[in-house]
């Protein structure tokens, strides 16, 4: 009989389950994986180097494009680093808006993760259901920032503008008649916050629906239980954060342990896994969606009751109002300087981290006192997770690689930067 040797297999970069541009070189012994060597960098855009050549505010838009399914959380990490270095305080209303949109982003991200993870493992329906709910949240993005995805909504010193009063409505057309439109506009008659509150009432029922499809599903459990087990000690060693760390049973969440913005005043719980397998990480993320929903509700209620400024009143960092610029010379100069030169950030270095949907998203900023960062380093959670790919899939079957990629919640925008 011929001697059977290990063979090498290329997984990706065009494989639909590779979640973007992952090229995974697998050394296989039959169906069993001996080594996995991820090749990354196919989406490398040198965001950090580009940021070194631009005034601080012009790089906020790049942050959206890092992890392109949780846009505002990336911005949050970046503007928090600048604010820390400048030593400026954000108005409390802006903090609530930020927290609300961080949690909306978390739901967006987890829905994307659930849909694609389900699709990879074979649960087609999840994908369609999750995108239905994402649509409402995308509308929330659009109503405050004008775009559905790359918002550039957070600015150092606050947010770009306050939440508008009314929600845009659908108009009758050839495709949708009056009756359809009335149904679609049911939640859109009131303010934007009413729309968000209405969503938070509908959403827990949707999560229950997802759970009836997956949580006790025999196929789902066969594909995820005891797959990609990571012990808490290894998870810490490997630099895991977020649901990957909590799935292994380590109780660590920056929103609780090192609270930023107004998280200390809000009521929510941190779900923690037990075994550290794909199934536990699934359960953790499902519960996180419910908790995020709870936080969004609290923020929306607070915002409805407490009007106020959403941007720092210092025109060195925030542009003056249009009407002021028509009248006042000083406002005119401020506007001109802010948009041509930007602001100089005092010399120093900071590290600011937020609890991103995927883990700890950190921004390390070195400033030499100029109007551009001297060095910007983005700590992407997915980078550390993917580096553990070899350890997580070793000894598993080929089909389990797909489950592990899914559970790691890989997005190449942030890994390749």
């Amino acid at each position: 009989m011929a001697e059977i040797q290990n063979f090498t297999m290329n997984f990706g970069p065009q494989h639909p389950a590779a979640h973007g541009v992952l090229r995974l070189v697998l050394e296989m012994e039959g169906e069993v994986i001996k080594t996995a060597d991820p090749h990354i960098g196919l989406l490398h855009r040198a965001t950090e180097k580009l940021a070194e050549t631009k005034p601080y505010n012009q790089s906020i838009g790049y942050m959206d494009r890092l992890d392109y399914v949780s846009m505002m959380c990336n911005e949050h990490g970046y503007v928090m680093a600048i604010e820390k270095l400048l030593g400026i305080d954000v108005p409390v209303r802006a903090q609530y808006i930020r927290v609300m949109f961080d949690e909306i982003t978390r739901i967006l991200n987890h829905l994307m993760w659930l849909g694609t993870h389900g699709l990879d493992v074979g649960a087609m329906t999840m994908f369609l259901y999750c995108f239905r709910e994402r649509e409402d949240l995308m509308d929330c993005y659009e109503v405050v920032s004008g775009t559905r995805m790359h918002a550039t909504y957070y600015r150092p010193g606050g947010v770009y503008r306050d939440i508008p009063a009314s929600m845009p409505r659908y108009q009758p057309s050839k495709i949708h008649n009056e009756k359809d439109v009335a149904r679609m506009n049911r939640a859109r008659e009131g303010t934007v916050l009413d729309f968000i509150l209405d969503f938070t009432e509908r959403f827990p029922v949707r999560v229950d629906e997802y759970e009836t499809l997956l949580t006790d599903n025999r196929i789902w459990k066969q594909r995820t239980v005891n797959i990609g087990v990571v012990s808490p000690e290894r998870a810490l060693q490997l630099g895991f954060t977020g649901p990957m760390l909590r799935g292994s049973g380590v109780e660590w969440d920056l929103r609780k342990k090192q609270p930023y913005e107004v998280y200390a005043d809000l009521d929510f719980d941190i779900p923690v896994g037990v075994t550290g397998d794909c199934y536990d990480r699934y359960l953790v993320r499902m519960e996180e969606m419910r908790q995020s929903n709870h936080i969004v509700r609290q923020c929306a209620k607070w915002l409805a009751a407490n009007p106020g400024p959403v941007m720092i009143d210092d025109h060195k960092y925030a542009p003056p109002k249009r009407t002021e610029m028509k009248e006042g010379m000083e406002s005119m100069i401020h506007h001109f300087k802010l948009f041509t030169e930007g602001y100089c950030v005092p010399e120093g270095e900071v590290y600011a981290a937020v609890e991103h949907p995927k883990g700890e998203f950190g921004v390390y900023l070195v400033s030499d006192g100029a109007n551009k960062p001297y060095r910007l380093k983005v700590r992407a959670p997915g980078f550390a997770h993917l580096s553990a790919m070899h350890e997580m899939v070793q000894g598993h079957m080929l089909a389990d690689v797909v489950s592990v990629i899914g559970t790691q919640d890989i997005v190449f925008g942030e890994i390749d930067r």
């Binding site: 820390k84 030593g87 100089c344 380093k377």
Partner: protein, 238 residues
């Protein structure tokens, strides 16, 4: 700087003595940010102690970041007041092309480690200067924290910093066969080569880049009186 970080700072100085060259506290008191400059020779001992000793217990290496201090504090906007030739446009830059054979300035390259202690809930930043060695080299901490693996590969790829003891120091983010270390300050933003499809050869070829480098917003450093620290003489307002 709150009391916890003051205690941590005192503990570090007492425990490591000469291995620590400098302790830098955050620019603003509220940050609770502590940077420790560690001597290159004692990096691995310090890291091992930081991970294992219960006073520190930094179980996690959050990030490794290479920094190139070549143009630190340099401004492109030289003119303070209008001269008879007007303001400078900030675009006439001298291109820095260091001789690859020479030694580096001892503080040119640094590696910055972000540590996190889950059990003590505190953070610490270590900075190691690579010294004059060309190519720059520091000891690897992969034996202490497994997460160092890809972070060190990234710093090697982008800055050309070698990590002594790393088992698999390959490029990670740049293309297969890439030449140079793109995040060094003497590497142009547009790169050195561009890719195009050559119809005659029937394949993709590399050629020198055709993009003219330009500066849209000059790099400016202002002596702003809001930022003048106590130890610095107050400069004129920008």
């Amino acid at each position: 700087m709150n009391s916890r970080y003051q205690a941590l700072s005192a503990n570090l100085s007492a425990r490591f003595g000469d291995a620590i060259e400098d302790v830098i506290q955050g620019p603003n008191d509220a940050h609770g940010e502590l940077t420790v400059v560690v001597a290159k020779e004692s990096l691995t001992q310090v890291c091992a102690a930081l991970r294992d000793e219960p006073d520190f217990a930094f179980e996690m290496l959050i990030d490794i970041c290479g920094v190139d201090y070549l143009t630190y504090g340099e401004s492109e906007w030289e003119t303070r007041s209008a001269s008879n030739s007007g303001f400078s446009r900030g675009v006439d830059r001298e291109v820095v092309i260091p001789d690859p054979a020479t030694e580096y300035d001892s503080q040119r390259f640094a590696v910055v480690y972000q540590l996190l202690s889950v059990s003590n809930n505190q953070r610490l930043r270590l900075r190691v200067y690579t010294g004059t060695a060309n190519p720059p080299v520091v000891p690897s901490v992969i034996e202490i924290w497994s997460s160092a693996d890809w972070y060190e590969r990234e710093a090697f790829d982008l800055f050309g910093i070698l990590f002594e003891g790393h088992p698999d120091l390959r490029r990670i983010l740049t293309d297969y066969g890439f030449i140079g270390h793109p995040f060094r300050k003497d590497f142009p933003l547009s790169g050195n080569v561009e890719v195009k499809y050559d119809e005659e050869l029937g394949r993709v070829v590399y050629q020198p880049v055709s993009i003219e480098p330009r500066t849209l917003v000059p790099r400016t450093i202002r002596d702003d009186n809001r930022y003048v620290s106590a130890d610095k003489e107050s400069g004129d307002n920008g």
